[in-house]
C-alpha cells in the first residue's frame, strides 16, 4: 500500500529559505538547493517550496531555484506562492517542478485550477488552503493573502469546490496551529479529508515526532508537512519516520 509521506516545507524569499512563525517572524535557515539535497538524503518523500517573495525579481529568482533543485533532486517537489496565471505555472513546471500549488489565486479565480488541470493534468495541481476556526461560522473559514484576508468560504465547501475544479491534492494549513508546535489540527484535517477523494497534506503545528503519529492515525491524512522543526533540527525526517514505523504507520 501507498506510504504516508513526510514533506519538509521550505519558505523561500529572494532565493533563501526562511520560516514564518505565525506568518510574521522570519528567520533565515539556509540555501534551498543544499537543504533540498539534505532532506532527500534524510528520507523526505517530497518537498514543498513556497515562494514568499513579493517582488517580480524574487519570482524570477524562484524559477532559477527550481531549475537548480530539479537538476539535483530525485524525489518530487511542489512549488507555490506567487502563481497567478497559466504562464506562471508553465514557467515553474517547465523549470522542473512536479506540481504547483495555488492558494489566493485559486480562491480569486477558481477557473485557474481547471486551466492548469486541463493543461498539465490534475496530478500537477495542488490547492493550498489556509483555514482558521470561526466561532460565528461554527467551522473553519478559508483565508487568503498569507492569512490576512478572510473569505466567504467554509473550509470543507471550498475543498470540495477546489477538487471538483481539478485540484489533485489539498495542502491544508491550520492557522490556529501554525507555529504553535502543539500538534496538527486533527479535527480540521479529518473534516476536510472526509469530503474529498484526493490526497490531503496536513500542515501547521508539528512540534514533535508524536504529532505525526497522531495526524496519520486520527485523520486519514496522506501526508504531513512541517518546516521549522526540521530546519532547526529539533527532530529529523529520519527520526520521525523511524518513530512512525515503530508505531506501525506505513512509511518508506
Amino acid at each position: 500500500m501507498v506510504t504516508k509521506r513526510i514533506i519538509p516545507c521550505l519558505d523561500v524569499k529572494e532565493g533563501r529559505v526562511v520560516k514564518g512563525i505565525q506568518f510574521v517572524e522570519l528567520r533565515d535557515a539556509g540555501d534551498p538547493v543544499e537543504l533540498a539535497a539534505f532532506y532527500d538524503e534524510q528520507g523526505a518523500d517530497e518537498l514543498v517550496f513556497l515562494d514568499i517573495s513579493a517582488s517580480h525579481e524574487g519570482r524570477k529568482t524562484m524559477v532559477e531555484v527550481v531549475r537548480e533543485v530539479a537538476g539535483t533532486l530525485a524525489i518530487p517537489f511542489t512549488v507555490g506562492g506567487g502563481i497567478n496565471t497559466l504562464d506562471d505555472m508553465k514557467g515553474i513546471l517547465r523549470a522542473g517542478a512536479d506540481k504547483v500549488s495555488l492558494n489566493t489565486a485559486a480562491v480569486v479565480n477558481p477557473s485557474l485550477i481547471t486551466e492548469g488541470a486541463d493543461y498539465f493534468g490534475t496530478q500537477c495541481m495542488v490547492v493550498a488552503i489556509d483555514a482558521k476556526y470561526d466561532e460565528e461560522l461554527g467551522s473553519w473559514r478559508v483565508y487568503t493573502h498569507g492569512g490576512r484576508t478572510p473569505t466567504e468560504w467554509e473550509v470543507t465547501e471550498w475543498a470540495k469546490e477546489a477538487t471538483s475544479r481539478g485540484a489533485g491534492e489539498i495542502l491544508l494549513t491550520s492557522m490556529d496551529k501554525d507555529g504553535a508546535k502543539d500538534g496538527f489540527d486533527l479535527e480540521l484535517t479529518k473534516r476536510v479529508n472526509e469530503v474529498v477523494t484526493v490526497p490531503v497534506i496536513a500542515s501547521g503545528g508539528a512540534g514533535a515526532k508524536e504529532h505525526f503519529v497522531d495526524v496519520f492515525e486520527d485523520t486519514g491524512a496522506d501526508a504531513a508537512l512541517a518546516a521549522s522543526i526540521f530546519h532547526y533540527k529539533e527532530t529529523s525526517v529520519e527520526e520521525v519516520k523511524a518513530y512512525l514505523r515503530q508505531k506501525g504507520v506505513n512509511v518508506r
Binding site: D45, G96, D98, G168, V198
Partner: protein
C-alpha cells in the same frame, strides 16, 4: 545513445536530468527520421491517453514505435508512456493504444469489494513486488518504494508481461515488458536511488545494443 520521444505530453525535463545524473547520453526529438538513429528510445508521458495517441498518430510516431519494438530494439515507456504500449484505455471513452503489450488500461474503481471508498489517483510511494526477480531491468536492485501518480492502471491476463507489481486495492502492474520493450508505471526519475538504478539498467540495455550496432 538514448532518444527521448518528444510529442508534447511529457515532463522531458526531469527524465533528461535523471539521465544526465547517470551519465547517459541522450537527445530529444520528435521526427522518426531523427529518432531512428538512437540505440534505445524513451516514451515519457503525462496527461490523457486519447490526446497522447492522437498526437502520436499525427506525428507518424505510432507506427514507428511499433516497428521499433517489433525489431527488438530497446524501448522504455514511463507512466502514460507505459500505458500507451497496451491495447487501449477507457480514459475519456475508449481509445486504441499501440498494441505492443497485451492488456487494457482501466480507471481505479475507487471502491473496494467490501464497499469502502479509497483515493484516486494512486499517488505517493509504494513498494514494488518483483514477479520476475531475474529480469535484466531489475539487475542488482533490491525491491523498495517508488513514486506513483496515476488514476488508470493496466489490467492484463498475461502474467508473463508482469515484471514487478505493486498493491493499491488491486494488483498494479508497475514494471511490464516483453523482450526489450519495458514499461514503468511509476516515475523512475522521481523515485530516489531505486528509480535511478532502474533507469541505469535500461541505459545498459541501450549501451549493449549500441555496441552491437557498432559491430555491424
Amino acid at each position: 545513445m538514448i532518444g527521448i520521444i518528444d510529442y508534447g505530453m511529457g515532463n522531458l525535463h526531469s527524465v533528461s536530468k535523471a539521465l544526465e545524473r547517470l551519465g547517459l547520453a541522450y537527445f530529444i526529438a520528435e521526427e522518426p527520421e531523427k529518432l531512428i538513429k538512437a540505440d534505445g528510445l524513451i516514451l515519457p508521458g503525462v496527461g490523457s491517453f486519447r490526446d497522447a495517441m492522437s498526437i502520436l498518430r499525427e506525428k507518424r510516431q505510432d507506427g514507428f514505435i511499433q516497428s521499433w519494438s517489433n525489431d527488438g530494439r530497446p524501448l522504455l515507456g514511463i507512466c502514460l508512456g507505459m500505458q500507451l504500449l497496451f491495447e487501449g484505455s477507457e480514459e475519456n471513452g475508449d481509445a486504441e493504444g499501440l498494441h505492443i503489450l497485451p492488456g487494457y488500461v482501466r480507471r481505479f474503481n475507487g471502491r473496494t469489494q467490501e464497499g469502502s471508498t479509497y483515493k484516486v489517483p494512486h499517488m505517493g510511494w509504494n513498494k514494488l513486488h518483483y514477479n520476475q526477480p531475474d529480469h535484466t531491468i531489475l539487475n542488482g536492485t533490491e525491491s523498495g518504494h517508488v513514486y506513483f501518480v496515476h488514476s488508470y492502471a493496466v489490467e492484463t491476463s498475461s502474467k508473463d508481461v508482469l515484471i514487478a507489481t505493486s498493491d493499491y486495492h488491486q494488483e498494479v502492474p508497475a514494471i511490464t515488458g516483453k523482450g526489450l520493450t519495458i514499461g514503468m508505471q511509476f516515475h523512475p526519475e522521481k523515485s530516489g536511488e531505486l528509480g535511478l538504478n532502474l533507469l541505469r539498467n535500461f541505459g545498459e540495455l541501450v549501451n549493449e545494443r549500441g555496441q552491437k550496432n557498432g559491430e555491424f
